[in-house]
C-alpha cells in the first residue's frame, strides 16, 4: 500500500516530542512530505530526516496535492484559520488540543471539515494511552457499575530553567495563550466527561498564577463538574511542583459497585477494585505523554481515512471538553457556578 502523504504545520515542542516520533513509528504507512513553521530553522530541522519540503508559510503545505492529511501542532489561537484552510484544501486534519479558543471558532472548524468531507481529529492523546484505554474499557464492561465520583489531578513540575509560562515562550504570552485551563486541563475536562459517560450540567472553578516568572497567564486551575447523570468530577491542574515531586497524574473513579485508581504515586499503572477482589492488570506507561499514544492517535486518523469510517473521537467530543473548560474559566472569573446552558 502506498504511504499516505503527511504535512506538519507547527514544528515546536509538541511536534518534536510527540508528532515527529509518531510519524517515524508509522513510517511504513505515512510519509512526511512538507513542514511549515514561522521559525524557518524549526521547519527545516523537522523536514530534514524525511527529505521533506519546508517553509515558513503553512499554505505551501496545504497546496501540495501529494499530501492527504496535515498535523496542526500550533498554538490554539491559530487553529481556526489553519484548520479551516486545510479543510478548504481538502486535507484531513489531526489538530492539537484544545480544539479552539471559543465555541464559535470550534463550530467554524467543525463545519468547514464537515462541508469539505474531511476528518478532523483533535489530539486528546490521553484517550490513546493504554492506561486510560483499559480504564474506559473496564467502565464500559460495567466492572465498577455506574460512575459516580471522579478525580483526575495533573501536577506538573516547574521548569529548570522556567521556559514555559515565561514571557519568552508563547505559553507565557497573555495575548495568545489560554494558559493551564486550555493547555493542560482540557485533558482533564475531556477525561472526566469520557469516563463518566455523562454530559456536564454545571462547572465551578478557581484559577491562579503561581509561577514567579509568569507575566499573568493562568498556570493553575482547580475545577469541579456536576454531570447531568448526577456524577461529580474534579481536577486540580498545576505547573509548579518541584522536580522531585513524584507524580503527574492521580486518577480515582468510584462507581456504584467498585473503584478504579491509576495514581502515579502508587508506581503501579492501574489497580482495579471490584466485588471480585483487586486486580493489577498490567504495568502501564508512567508518563502519559508517550510515543505509543501519539502513534495510536495518528494511526486512528490514517485508518479512518483509508477505511472511510468515522473517527472513534468525533470533533463534537473535543467541543464538549472545550465547553466545560470555557465554563470553568468563566466560573473562576465571575465567582459563581456556570450552567452549561449559559454557553450555548
Amino acid at each position: 500500500m502506498d504511504r499516505m502523504g503527511i504535512g506538519l504545520i507547527g514544528c515546536g515542542g509538541i511536534a518534536r516530542s510527540a508528532h515527529l516520533p509518531a510519524i517515524a513509528a508509522l513510517r511504513e504507512h505515512v510519509d512526511l512530505r512538507a513542514t511549515a513553521d514561522v521559525d524557518a530553522h524549526a521547519a527545516e530541522v523537522a523536514a530534514a530526516p524525511w527529505g521533506a519540503a519546508h517553509s515558513t508559510d503553512h499554505r505551501t503545505v496545504l497546496a501540495r496535492p501529494d499530501i492527504a492529511a496535515v498535523i496542526v501542532a500550533t498554538p490554539e489561537y491559530l487553529h481556526a484559520e489553519q484548520v479551516s484552510a486545510a479543510a478548504a484544501a481538502g486535507k484531513h486534519v489531526l489538530c492539537e488540543k484544545p480544539l479552539a479558543r471559543t465555541l464559535a471558532e470550534a463550530d467554524r472548524m467543525i463545519d468547514a471539515c464537515a462541508a469539505a468531507g474531511v476528518h478532523l481529529l483533535i489530539g486528546h492523546s490521553r484517550r490513546f494511552t493504554r492506561r486510560y484505554m483499559e480504564i474506559r474499557a473496564a467502565i464500559e464492561r460495567g466492572e465498577i457499575g455506574e460512575v459516580r465520583l471522579l478525580r483526575e489531578n495533573e501536577r506538573r513540575s516547574r521548569g529548570r530553567p522556567q521556559i514555559w509560562w515565561s514571557p519568552a515562550h508563547w505559553t507565557g504570552n497573555p495575548q495568545i495563550s489560554g494558559g493551564a485551563p486550555m493547555i493542560n486541563a482540557i485533558h482533564e475536562t475531556d477525561l472526566l466527561r469520557w469516563f463518566s459517560g455523562q454530559e456536564a450540567e454545571s462547572v465551578q472553578a478557581e484559577i491562579n498564577v503561581t509561577i514567579a516568572e509568569n507575566p499573568g497567564v493562568i498556570d493553575f486551575i482547580s475545577l469541579t463538574v456536576r454531570f447531568k447523570g448526577g456524577a461529580i468530577g474534579s481536577a486540580e491542574v498545576l505547573n509548579n511542583t518541584p522536580l522531585g515531586y513524584p507524580a503527574f497524574h492521580q486518577l480515582d473513579i468510584y462507581g456504584t459497585s467498585g473503584a478504579i485508581r491509576a495514581r502515579d504515586h502508587d508506581l503501579t499503572g492501574l489497580a482495579r477494585f471490584t466485588d471480585a477482589g483487586t486486580e493489577y492488570p498490567a504495568q502501564y506507561e508512567m508518563l502519559l505523554h508517550n510515543l505509543p499514544a501519539y502513534a495510536r492517535e495518528l494511526a486512528e486518523l490514517v485508518d479512518a481515512i483509508r477505511q472511510d469510517r468515522p473517527l472513534v473521537m468525533p470533533p463534537s467530543e473535543a467541543r464538549a471538553a472545550l465547553a466545560i473548560t470555557l465554563a470553568a474559566i468563566r466560573s473562576a472569573h465571575e465567582g459563581r457556578a456556570i450552567e452549561m446552558g449559559e454557553l450555548a
Binding site: R148, L149, R151, N153, R155, Q204, A205, E206, I207, N208, T210, A212, F220, S222, T224, V225, R226, G230, A231, I232, S234, E236, L238, N240, T241, P242, G244, Y245, P246, Y254, T256, S257, G258, A259, H265, F273, T274, D275, A276, G277, T278, G335, A337
Partner: protein
C-alpha cells in the same frame, strides 16, 4: 495527677482504651457502663474525652465544662454561634478548658507536615489539596468529614476565605456522601477539598478511611498520606483494618497536661473554634 474519664465509643475513645501504656501524669478512669452525664459531672474526674456524636456529644461537653473539667472534643464541638457562646460561658463560669482536637492535625504525619509548611524553606504556599475518603455509609460528609479538613486548613493557612464553592451530592446512597469544595484565601491560596464516603468494600483495607494532602509551595511540595497507622487483619472471609491513633490521641492528651499547667497556648481554643466554625458555616451555606 489528672484523672481522665471517657465518654463515648468513637475511634479516639477506642484508641485511648486500647493504649495499655502509662500516660504520664494522666490516670485513665474508664467506666464505659456509666451514663454520659454521670461521667461529665463526676467531681473526682479532672478531665474527660468526649467522643460521642450529635446533640448528646454537645450536651456532654457542656456539662463537663460546667463542672470545671478540661474537655477534649472533636474538631467542631459547636454547630452554631449560639452553641459556641454557651460553651464559652460554661468554660468561664465553670473554670473548665475546652480542647477541640482534630485527629488530622494531631497525627504524627500531619503535625510534621504542618511544621514543614510553616518552615521558611517551603516558600509561599500556593495551593493545598485535601482528600478524605471513607467507606460507604450513612451520614453527611459536611458534618462528619469537613471539620477535620477545615481544622487542618486553618492550622496551615492563617487567612480568611472570602470565596467558598461547594459541589455536593448523594452519590452512593448516603445522605450527602460526596463533596468537592473550592476555597480561595484572601492571599490567593486555592484550597481543594474532596470529601467522600465512596470507598467500596473490596478495597485492600476495608473499614479504614484514607487521607491525601498535597501542599504546593514556591520552593517545596509536601505530600502527606497518613493512612498506614492501622493493623490490617486478613481472614478467609475478608479483611479489615483497625486504625491505631496513639500518636494523635497522645498529642491531644499532652494538651490536657498543658491546660493543667496553665500554659497560655491553650487559651486560643475559642479563637480557633470560632474560625473553624465560620469556615464550616460558609461551606454549609454554599452547599445550600
Amino acid at each position: 495527677m489528672i484523672s481522665l474519664g471517657i465518654i463515648g465509643d468513637g475511634l479516639h475513645a477506642q484508641a485511648l482504651r486500647g493504649h495499655g501504656a502509662p500516660l504520664g501524669s494522666i490516670r485513665l478512669v474508664d467506666t464505659p457502663d456509666r451514663f454520659w452525664r454521670d461521667i461529665a459531672e463526676d467531681t473526682t474526674l479532672t478531665a474527660v474525652l468526649v467522643d460521642l456524636p450529635g446533640e448528646a456529644g454537645f450536651a456532654a461537653i457542656l456539662a463537663a465544662l460546667k463542672s470545671g473539667k478540661t474537655v477534649i472534643s472533636g474538631p467542631a464541638p459547636a454547630r452554631t454561634i449560639d452553641d459556641l457562646a454557651r460553651l464559652r460561658t460554661a468554660t468561664i463560669r465553670g473554670s473548665g478548658t475546652l480542647l477541640p482536637c482534630a485527629e488530622l492535625t494531631h497525627g504524627e504525619a500531619a503535625r510534621r507536615g504542618l511544621a514543614a509548611i510553616a518552615d521558611p524553606a517551603f516558600g509561599k504556599l500556593t495551593s493545598l489539596y485535601i482528600a478524605i475518603r471513607q467507606p460507604r455509609g450513612p451520614g453527611d460528609v459536611l458534618e462528619d468529614l469537613a471539620p477535620e479538613a477545615v481544622a487542618f486548613i486553618n492550622a496551615a493557612i492563617p487567612d480568611d476565605f472570602p470565596s467558598v464553592r461547594v459541589n455536593a451530592g448523594a452519590l452512593f446512597g448516603g445522605e450527602r456522601d460526596s463533596a468537592v469544595i473550592l476555597l480561595r484565601s484572601e492571599n490567593d491560596v486555592v484550597v481543594t477539598i474532596e470529601l467522600a464516603k465512596c470507598l467500596p468494600a473490596s478495597l485492600p483495607a476495608p473499614g479504614l478511611g484514607e487521607v491525601e494532602i498535597d501542599a504546593i509551595g514556591t520552593q517545596q511540595a509536601i505530600r502527606i498520606t497518613p493512612n498506614d497507622s492501622a493493623v490490617r487483619i486478613h481472614r478467609d472471609d475478608g479483611s479489615d483494618a483497625r486504625p491505631w491513633l496513639d500518636a494523635a490521641v497522645l498529642a491531644m492528651l499532652r494538651n490536657v497536661e498543658r491546660a493543667a499547667s496553665g500554659l497560655p497556648e491553650v487559651a486560643g481554643w475559642l479563637r480557633r473554634a470560632a474560625r473553624n466554625r465560620a469556615v464550616l458555616a460558609a461551606i454549609r451555606a454554599a452547599a445550600g
